[in-house]
């Protein structure tokens, strides 16, 4: 088990290193001088030179990568060349809002999607199962930004019963939650449908296994067999999907944050991209990637815990 963890950890580090190197080199893919693109054609040569050195652009590529990595390892994401503000501060202000949004949506998706899927699988071909089937496939096909726009249009613009913009008044928890509701639903919708379908299929599959029939043949009640013996097996693939899902949720969060004007990582990166504020883009993308890699690592751990067959990192043949 320990060896597996170590191995997994090193793999994670390797992936992150590649990510960071790639980000540092990204700037060189672009034809032309990034500093000039960043500042516009009318900037004075002195200003350009100043920005160039602030961004390490006057040094060879490997030095840039090295410097960036060195700083990141020491917890320094650099400074915003426009405002001189430490990027650490920008990120630490934005990150919590994104994490709260992602977790809230995931939680909502799990709370609605999994019971829906379990119900469908345990009542196959009932009318509620059919309704759920149609509902869930419709939900999966709604992109989060379209859902966000529709929610905004209906509840904020037309009905005016929900707040739409920003985070709410400072320190007002109730207001914060009210502002969280629409973006959370927008992000969760696809996942509710997806989880319901996934849980339904894998539970139906498990319910067909011999060990389920064997458990029933040994006289266990239908309830115990369905909710204990089958569900744990059925949830294993779901956990794997949730790990990957959190990543795509972060992607969707960018658009949703922009629509609802929430000052999270998405908005931070989006605004930096618009302003060609390259160091902020680099740092922002890195943080999101780290988060993603970390969540995947966590998912693997939970997976190992749930499925005793996967031990010491090797699968049973």
């Amino acid at each position: 088990m320990l060896a597996y963890l170590i191995k997994r950890f090193f793999m994670t580090i390797a992936v992150l290193l590649i990510v960071m190197t790639f980000l540092s080199l990204l700037v060189h893919i672009v034809p032309g001088d990034p500093a000039r693109t960043l500042l516009g054609p009318r900037a004075s040569p002195e200003l350009i030179q100043k920005i160039r050195s602030a961004m390490d652009l006057d040094k060879p590529a490997y030095v840039q990568v090295g410097n960036f990595l060195w700083k990141v390892i020491h917890g320094d994401l650099g400074t915003d060349v426009f405002t001189g503000v430490s990027i650490n501060r920008l990120v630490s202000a934005a990150l919590p809002h994104t994490i709260i949004l992602a977790l809230a949506s995931l939680g909502l998706a799990v709370l609605i999607g999994i019971p829906l899927g379990v119900f469908s699988a345990t009542h196959p071909n009932s009318w509620l199962d059919r309704v759920t089937a149609i509902l869930s496939i419709s939900l999966t096909t709604i992109p989060s930004y379209v859902a966000g726009l529709f929610l905004l249009l209906i509840f904020a613009v037309q009905l005016k019963i929900m707040p739409a913009i920003g985070l709410g008044k400072d320190g007002n928890l109730k207001d914060y939650i009210m502002h969280l509701i629409l973006p959370t639903i927008a992000l969760a919708i696809t996942w509710i449908g997806y989880l319901a379908r996934l849980v339904r299929t894998s539970l139906l599959e498990v319910l067909n296994e011999t060990y389920i029939r064997a458990a029933r043949a040994s006289g266990l009640s239908g309830r115990l067999v369905q909710y204990k013996y089958a569900l744990k097996n059925a949830l294993i693939p779901t956990v794997a999907v949730l790990g990957v899902g959190l990543g795509s949720l972060m992607g969707g969060a960018v658009l949703v944050e922009v629509i609802f004007n929430r000052p999270g990582m998405g908005t931070l990166i989006y605004n930096a991209i618009k302003a060609r504020n390259y160091p902020v883009v680099r740092a922002g993308v890195l943080i999101v990637a780290c988060l993603f890699v970390f969540v995947n690592f966590l998912t693997d751990l939970i997976y190992t815990y749930l499925d005793p067959r996967i031990q010491l990192g090797k699968q049973q043949r």
């Binding site: 496939i137 709604i142 992109p143 930004y145 529709f150 249009l153 960018v254 990166i269 390259y278 990637a289």
Partner: protein, 297 residues
Amino acid sequence: MSMENTLKTQPLKFNLERFDFILDILRRPQGAIGFTIVLLFIITVIFAPLIAPYDFARQDIPNRFQGPSAHYWLGTDQLGRDLFSRLVYGARIALSVAIPSVTIAISLGILFGLVAGYIGGTVDNLIVILMDSLQAFPSLILSLAILALLGPSLVNVVIIIGITWMPNYARVIRAQVLSAREAVYVEAERSLGATNPRIIFSHILPNVIAPALILAAMDLPWVITFEAGLSFMGLGVRPPTPSWGVILYDGFYNIRLSPWPVTWSGLALIFTTMGFTLFGETLRDVLDPRLSGTRGM
């Protein structure tokens, strides 16, 4: 074998050369709905100039922000352009981004997947790490960052979607090749004296390509919404080209003035996605039931 198993394992319908699988799709309600939507979409794409009543760029400033009327079937946008015509042409843009980018993704994916799976060893490890790293970025954020640097354009969007989507295919192909490589029939070919290229191209590839094609069919709607998302952020297709994402963005900007642009373009996206998804899933169920439950995200 027990009775239940005999009934459960139906033979795989793998003969792509016969088209009776289309009938199988139409026989299922989901497939029929999906097929109809996809067909409508394709007709719209091909006959856009005949279907659209106006030019997509024709402005009618006095009549801006109109609701649906006999004159403008779905209303007009902030420049008085006909929304229906713009949506019809938008379907063309959606498909002209989706098809080449999925083609790029699947070609690169097959290449990397075959090489990694068949050669194995260090090459395999390197490719796997590369794919893992590519997938370590949420694809939307990665695409945004790259597009910000390269500058938004239709070609760039196609290339970037192709690359960010590629690891999905590479993984599927690699896994298929790995299991095919261990398959008894490959061993049997080898024992007959077949060479490696013969085994790969004549025996492994045909088995591997069907799941990849099915995956591609199921990915099309996601690529369409992905492109619309990028355009919505102002980093994909640029105005005045009527991408659905652009229409959505214009509508979002003026959402307090008129609900129609957002409503129609959003519905167009949802219906297209739903149609392709229903069609793709039925196609998968009909052609290869073993793949049930897989989906590119």
